[in-house]
């Protein structure tokens, strides 16, 4: 018997350029999970999309065959007509996309969009489809299927939307599901739950899965077979266990070495020193009021930050970890003075140990200018944080021009020096940002932030848009810069593994509150708060013997009401941070 889907000698290219996918071969057996692993630009997405012939207009399939062989018969997917292809899409092969936020039409009800699959392929009536879809909703874990059916996508969280997408992909009971980075845009705890769901559904229905991902941790948790791709070619393929435990190909090894891991050895971290603090946040809260849409309702207060107390010592790294909406970015913006804290909160900044601190939110004009030179920021998305219309040189010298530092030629020399410092060539100064890769651009962003010789750099998820091997390089660069220049980092991330590597102290935030705070060694070896435990448990590890502990995840990532009595908090009753051991604070009732 031949495989459910077999791809043979597939080559795809754009226009007259070289092929971006070359001679790719792989098979998926019925009921099996195949992981297509690679970094951006490896051709993994485009080769699996070729199976449904959903390709960019300019792409052409140059050679190869893709054969589907399921219980409904055999089809040569490269040769059949568009009409026949349509009867396969969503019916025999379905697909889930990366961004659940944007993959559903904002103007149609979820129920309508999911039922459509049945209308199209089964000719089902509205009410028949509804019953089936409600069943499917129940299966993918909607607490109230009826309500979900009549909801619009914007009324749901990212995780719920991805569940709706899964329901849509599964409702026609296809024998093959292609999931293109299905959890990359989700928070780590949500990712764990969605992966768990896919696995469970697969067990129930016996469907095969092609999982496209860049995350080896996800692969270790899901896959039975692995195909590693690089620059459009298959590097290594075979059963998951041997590849994950003893990769043969050097590229696979390289991927593994780059993947940061959460340490699991016992170690005692040193608490953040309490002398020579460069930045102090004292009781910082931030409340946004959301105007009620209807006149008769009261405005809603949203607590982005509640009583945040953090200290950052000179030359150290303080990391804030949390999911989207936890208030970590707001805290950073307040620290930089971009946002005013609620009355009562205070942020202090010291240029040198013996000097009087500056209160960041009550500065004179001269103080503000001085502060801006000392505190800089590196942003998350290197693609949108550099102006595409400015040469690298102009983007780099701009901060110096604004602060009137040095002559034009001195500014240029400084820019060239900084480029070399971040590992780029000074002859790249005349280029525009589009000529650089993601990793190079992030180096540029860092170089730009360094131009004014700052003492404090706020890094807002600086590596989350990058591939793992590039992430590794950027983290190393940040470490080297810190050692060389005695920089202090205020580091924001959702990725515990990254934080474990770079931070001297970690604060875990949830709903605007710091729930646990400790040096990383202590935090990862001895987490006390259920939410921290959930975050650690949800982190997919590239180790096939350490699957995600879903129970731990759902317990800690749920609402604070389901935590142990000692940790619960509500809008009115909030326990205070208690120091359990030196440098390890947990928010709990004692």
């Amino acid at each position: 018997m031949s495989a459910l889907l077999s791809v043979r000698d597939l080559s795809i290219g754009f226009g007259t350029g070289e092929s971006v996918v070359t001679d790719v071969n792989f098979d998926v057996e019925a009921g099996q999970t195949l992981a297509l692993v690679g970094e951006s630009g490896s051709g993994k997405t485009i080769s699996c999309r070729a199976a449904l012939r959903i390709l960019p207009r300019a792409a052409q399939i140059r050679s190869g065959t893709i054969t589907l062989n399921d219980s409904k018969g055999t089809a040569e997917l490269m040769e059949i007509s568009e009409r026949e292809m349509r009867s396969i899409r969503g019916n025999r092969i379905s697909m889930i996309f990366q961004e659940p936020m944007r993959s559903l039409s904002p103007l149609h009800k979820i129920g309508n969009q999911v039922s459509e699959v049945l209308w199209l392929h089964r000719g089902a009536s509205e009410s028949q489809a509804r019953t089936e879809v409600l069943e499917q909703f129940e299966r993918v874990g909607f607490p109230d299927p009826q309500r979900a059916y009549d909801s619009y996508p914007f009324e749901m969280s990212g995780g719920m939307r991805q569940r709706a997408m899964i329901a849509m992909a599964m409702v026609a009971k296809p024998e093959l599901l292609i999931a293109d980075e299905p959890t990359t845009a989700l928070d780590v705890t949500t990712q764990a739950q969605v992966l768990g769901l896919i696995k469970e559904l697969q067990r129930e229905t016996g469907m095969a899965l092609i999982l496209v991902t860049h995350d080896l941790g996800v692969v270790a948790n899901m896959a039975e077979r692995v195909v590693v791709m690089h620059k459009g070619r298959v590097m290594e393929s075979g059963p998951a266990a041997p590849i994950l435990t003893a990769p043969a190909h050097p590229y696979t090894k390289q991927l593994f070495d780059a993947a940061p891991e959460i340490p699991d050895q016992e170690a005692v971290g040193l608490p953040m020193p309490s002398e020579d603090l460069i930045l102090q946040m004292k009781d910082v809260s931030k409340t946004y009021t959301m105007r009620a849409s209807k006149g008769w309702q009261a405005d809603k207060a949203i607590h982005a930050c509640r009583g945040v107390d953090l200290n950052l010592a000179r030359g150290k790294t303080l990391a804030i970890v949390g999911e989207s909406g936890s208030g970590k970015t707001t805290a950073a913006r307040i620290a930089l003075g971009a946002e005013l804290p609620d009355p009562g909160g205070e942020v202090l900044f010291r240029t040198s140990p013996n000097e009087d601190p500056i209160t960041v939110h009550h500065m004179t004009r001269a103080q503000r200018t001085a502060f801006q030179r000392k505190a800089q920021m590196v942003f998350q998305d290197p693609y949108s944080s550099l102006s595409p219309r400015m040469r690298v040189q102009d983007a780099m010298t701009e901060p110096l021009e604004i602060h009137r530092v040095g002559s034009t030629s001195e500014q240029r020399d400084k820019a060239a020096e900084m480029l070399q410092r971040v590992g780029l060539n000074s002859d790249m100064l005349k280029r525009y940002p589009h000529a650089f890769s993601g990793g190079q651009r992030q180096r540029l962003s860092i170089a730009r932030a360094m131009m004014l010789d700052p003492q404090l750099i706020v890094c807002d998820e600086p590596t989350s848009a990058l591939d793992v091997s590039v992430q590794e390089q950027i983290l190393t660069l940040l470490e080297n810069l810190q050692d060389g220049l005695n920089l202090s980092y205020f580091f924001i991330s959702h990725d515990l593994a990254v934080v474990a590597r770079i931070a001297d102290e970690v604060a875990v935030m949830r709903r605007g509150l710091v729930v646990e705070q400790a040096p990383p060694e202590t935090l990862f070896y001895n987490p006390r708060h259920p939410y921290t435990k959930a975050l650690i448990a949800a982190q997919p590890e590239p180790d096939i013997n350490r699957p995600i502990d879903l129970k731990m995840v759902s317990l800690g990532a749920g609402s604070p009401d389901c935590w142990d009595e000692a940790f619960r908090f509500s809008d009115t009753v909030i326990p205070s941070l208690v120091e359990l051991e030196p440098g390890h604070k947990v928010r709990c009732h004692v």
Binding site: R86, F97, P106, L107, M168
Partner: protein, 342 residues
């Protein structure tokens, strides 16, 4: 239920806006020094015709032009008793046109609804042309369909309306025997409505509709094409294709629905621009719309006439925006359910 409540709310805000507009209209019209009668009196006195002066003085008192400004305004609206008790816009008395020496209602009477008819026809034309062409141009972007429609569209934008009108009249008459000028056959003027009259009006409408609507249609087409192209690149379109939908159905159900919003929001803006844009065309085509009358009234400071026409146009605009707002709420759940508990 939400809809009804919103519609009622929107209606009241419209009335409020109308009141504000009436103040503005009144103030603006009275901004230039003097009024029609004082100008006339000055002229008569200069030429020594005292009989005329007496009549003008009488009219001034009759229409309360000798009173303070705020009182004049309230009398005009009908909130305040004038020389003949409450008799303003609210009571259905639109005032007196000094220039034409006839009541305003008599002058504007027929032209009011003809204006509405011409502009409605033009708007329908705009939507009927722009919608399919815009979608087609986007779906077949960078093919000859796209280029041709863009070329014709820009041609439509760039040609002055009155020139287009003259050209169409000539060829329309020569080849299709379309009538020249006017909105109906002269023999029907002042006649009660009949099938024959309606038919005559419809035939006369063809050229004006085309002329007034062309530029609006091509502008809207280009906008719809751009919106559609934006939407076509979004992931939900891919999702729909991955479901196995046929292209035509996918296009109309998903991206068009999203791209349609700005289209609907335009209804309100379209009306006033059409009314003011069609003045010149109306002059050239000899249409009995309100445009040419407004022009005369403004030039001669015929204040009641111009104020009434301006109020009428404002009312049309406000009704247009109200309709588009209500439609938007109906079309877009994101507006409708904003703030609903998830």
């Amino acid at each position: 239920m939400i809809m009804l409540r919103y519609a009622v709310y929107r209606f009241f805000t419209m009335l409020l806006t109308l009141l504000v507009v009436s103040v503005l209209v009144f103030v603006i019209i009275n901004l230039p020094p003097g009024d029609y009668l004082s100008n006339q009196i000055a002229e008569l006195q200069a030429s020594g015709q005292s009989a005329g002066v007496a009549k003008a003085e009488f009219l001034r008192a009759e229409y309360a032009l000798d009173r303070p400004m705020w009182e004049q305004f309230l009398i005009w609206i009908g909130f305040w008793p004038g020389p003949h008790g409450f008799s303003g816009l609210l009571q259905g008395n639109y005032g007196w046109s000094f220039e034409f020496d006839r009541p305003v209602s008599e002058i504007v009477g027929d032209t009011l609804w003809l204006t509405v008819v011409v502009n409605l026809a033009a708007i329908l034309f705009v939507y009927a042309v722009a919608l399919p062409l815009g979608v087609l141009a986007a779906a077949r972007s960078r093919t000859w369909i796209d280029y041709t429609s863009a070329f014709v569209g820009y041609l439509g934008l760039a040609t002055p309306n009155f020139l287009l009108a003259l050209i169409l009249f000539y060829y329309g008459h020569q080849y299709f025997n379309l009538p020249i000028g006017g909105l109906m056959d002269p023999s029907f003027e002042g006649e009660p409505m009949s099938w024959a009259k309606l038919k005559s009006i419809l035939i006369h409408l063809i050229v004006p509709t085309f002329v007034i609507g062309t530029s609006g249609a091509s502008a809207m087409m280009q906008r719809l094409r751009a919106n559609m192209l934006d939407e076509l690149g979004k992931p939900y379109v891919e999702t729909a294709i991955a479901k196995g939908m046929a292209p035509s159905r996918m296009l109309t159900k998903y991206p068009l629905r999203v791209a349609f919003n700005p289209f609907v929001a335009d209804i309100g803006n379209l009306l006033p621009s059409m009314v003011s844009g069609s003045v010149l065309v109306s002059v050239v085509l000899g249409l009995q719309t309100i445009g040419p009358t407004l022009l005369t009234a403004l030039k001669t400071q015929d204040q009641f006439l111009s104020a009434f026409i301006l109020m009428f146009v404002a009312l049309l605009t406000l009704i247009g925006t109200m309709i588009s707002d209500i439609l938007l709420v109906m079309l877009d759940p994101r507006i409708r359910y904003e703030g609903r508990e998830a």
